[in-house]
């Protein structure tokens, strides 16, 4: 036998099953909106359990972080899928003409609240007047503006400044009110201040505002060329989230395996809150990741009214339910 063939034969035998697999699986990436944590447990569990592979996708998850904009990375095509900021960031990406489409919404209701100390001077929204309030200027401040407007409180009646990542200024009493996500900061604040009964919460929905967030986006060109892969991605993701609900301990382990240095107790507390946000609103009847046109329209009109969007955008092209609706409703219900 020729020397080269001799070498090539065992290699070919080794390579053969791999080639078969590679042809069947479409390599795709999912860029998250933040650093790995239980907020994304369903996706990590779906990878660990091979749900994406079974759906024909070779999916790898890339974490987000403070320096990354998921919309940009998906628009550029360096990632196919993204879990991005929310309806607000999808609106502004579409306004800029970025080629991304929202194919699912994870958090059906506003995932953050405004928090004041129960023994402090702020009991009602009216009490915000003259106080120091912080909010993330990535969208939360707009919700605050809307809440104030609903009670005819002018924005300049209080001091509103950008909130940093740390909630220490609020704990120390340097600020009176701060923003907190239900699943992350609120748990930290509760832990550091000694319980939920020591806090007064201001929920956007009580003031008629809902901004669904944690939107699943896809690169437009990729979706046009691979509609089945998009539906496969959603199907496997839903399987992952349903498994995370059924087996929260396994979901937690899938996350802790990615970043073993995370605070386990904090992550344990995060998961049920995330699931609650995902099952809220229209998701209760229409399943996980449902794009509720009423809620989207309401949020959109709110941002137009706030003049964050210069003009209305075409919601029908920005949000597309067709990929999700290709999955039977029974499979989508949590």
């Amino acid at each position: 036998m020729h020397r080269r063939t001799l070498l090539a034969t065992p290699l070919a035998v080794l390579a053969a099953p791999r080639i078969g697999q590679a042809q069947a699986l479409t390599p795709v990436t999912l860029r998250l909106k933040w650093l790995p944590q239980a907020q994304f447990a369903g996706f990590y569990l779906a990878v660990e359990r091979g749900y994406y592979r079974e759906a024909g996708l070779d999916l790898s998850i890339s974490p987000g972080g403070p320096n990354l904009l998921t919309e940009n990375l998906v628009a550029s095509g360096s990632e196919q899928f993204g879990l991005s900021g929310g309806t607000d960031s999808v609106f502004s990406a579409r306004e800029k003409g970025l080629p991304i489409t929202c194919i699912g919404v994870a958090h059906q209701v506003t995932p953050f609240v405004f928090v004041a100390k129960a023994d402090g001077p702020v009991k009602t929204l009216e009490d915000f007047r003259g106080k120091k309030v912080t909010a993330w200027f990535t969208g939360a401040h707009l919700v605050l503006f809307g809440m104030l407007a609903s009670r005819n409180i002018p924005r300049d009646a209080l001091s509103i400044s950008p909130q940093q990542v740390s909630i220490t200024p609020f704990i120390n009493g340097d600020t009176d009110v701060c923003a907190a996500t239900w699943y992350n900061e609120l748990n930290t604040i509760k832990a550091r201040i000694g319980g939920a009964d020591k806090l007064k919460l201001f929920v956007a929905e009580d003031y008629g505002i809902t901004v669904p967030r944690d939107t699943v986006i896809v690169n437009e060109a990729f979706a046009a060329a691979n509609p089945n892969a998009v539906t496969a991605f959603l199907r496997a993701s839903i399987r992952g989230w349903k498994a995370a609900k059924a087996e929260p301990a396994a979901a937690l382990e899938a996350v802790m395996k990615i970043v073993p240095t995370l605070d386990r107790a904090h992550q344990i507390a995060m998961l049920p809150e995330v699931l609650r946000l995902m099952e809220a609103g229209a998701a209760a009847q229409q399943g996980l990741f449902v794009i509720d046109p009423t809620a989207i329209k309401k949020a959109h009109d709110f941002f137009v009214e706030q003049q964050v969007l210069k003009a209305p955008i075409d919601l029908a092209t920005a949000f597309r339910s067709s990929f999700l609706e290709a999955i039977p409703l029974a499979d989508r219900l949590a």
């Binding site: 860029r31 650093l35 790995p36 944590q37 890339s62 974490p63 987000g64 972080g65 403070p66 320096n67 990354l68 904009l69 940009n72 990375l73 550029s76 360096s78 990542v165 740390s166 909630i167 220490t168 930290t188 990615i258 970043v259 073993p260 240095t261 995370l262 605070d263 904090h266």
Partner: protein
């Protein structure tokens, strides 16, 4: 003896850390006791070990590439003054752009790869080496060059027998500086969506307000920096054998 000289100050810092935390009752939110930090590293030893190796590898790849390109450019510039006048200003301008500005672009180009982090480490490394190689070669006494020329030495012989050896002390000064820069580059690279590495641990600890994990990551970064520095020192001791004390 050398090990003792190294360990003594480390022990002193450790004692000062533990002592001041106990003595001044510092809140663990500002400075946790060192034993808690070391305990956290021990509890997740595998994760910290993996992060150490990944970041070290990224920094070494960028550092070696930067070192080679730096020495190479220095040699070329020393021989081609016209080229130096044209290209060196571009090198200088490139260094005035803060590396963090490039981070997002590099991730777009290279994705979540080792190359992305190494590219940033390279970017920070090559310039000091270029400048010092050039300066070292230009500082050679012209009479020495004239002497070697009178013996019939050509360009190549001059470079290998006189110019480079004379420039080596300066090159190594630059390399020592660059070792720290390469680490900073690798960590910055990891701040743009990396899954693993010291930078990823730093970021996670920072944004989750895990103060103990944050200090653990800082100690880990120092360990990577120390390893890089030791690497340069070992090579330096081999190549600069004629220098007595280093």
């Amino acid at each position: 003896m050398k090990a003792l000289a190294l360990l003594a100050p480390l022990a002193l810092i450790a004692a000062a850390w533990e002592g001041s935390v106990a003595l001044f009752a510092i809140s663990p939110f500002y400075l946790p006791p060192l034993r808690d930090v070391l305990g956290a590293i021990g509890a997740n030893w595998q994760a910290y070990q993996a992060a150490f190796l990944i970041t070290l590898l990224e920094a070494v790849v960028g550092f070696v590439a930067g070192g080679l390109v730096g020495v190479g450019s220095g040699i070329v510039f020393a021989h081609a003054p016209r080229l130096k006048q044209m290209v060196l200003p571009i090198f200088i301008v490139s260094q005035t752009v803060p590396v963090i500005a490039f981070g997002a672009i590099i991730v777009l180009w290279f994705g979540n790869t080792l190359a992305a982090k190494a590219a940033i480490a390279f970017y920070l490394t090559f310039f000091p080496v270029t400048v010092n190689t050039l300066a070292g070669m230009e500082a050679v006494d012209p009479r020495q060059i004239a002497l070697l020329r009178s013996f019939g030495a050509g360009r190549r012989a001059l470079l290998w027998k006189l110019l480079l050896p004379s420039a080596l002390p300066r090159i190594f000064t630059a390399l020592r500086l660059s070792a720290g820069l390469a680490l900073a580059g690798a960590i910055v690279g990891e701040w743009f969506g990396a899954v693993q590495g010291v930078g990823a641990l730093l970021l996670a600890a920072m944004f989750n307000e895990q103060i103990i994990a944050l200090w653990a990551a800082i100690i880990l970064a120092a360990a990577v920096g120390g390893a890089l520095f030791a690497l340069v020192a070992v090579i330096e001791a081999r190549l600069l054998f004629w220098r007595e004390e280093l």
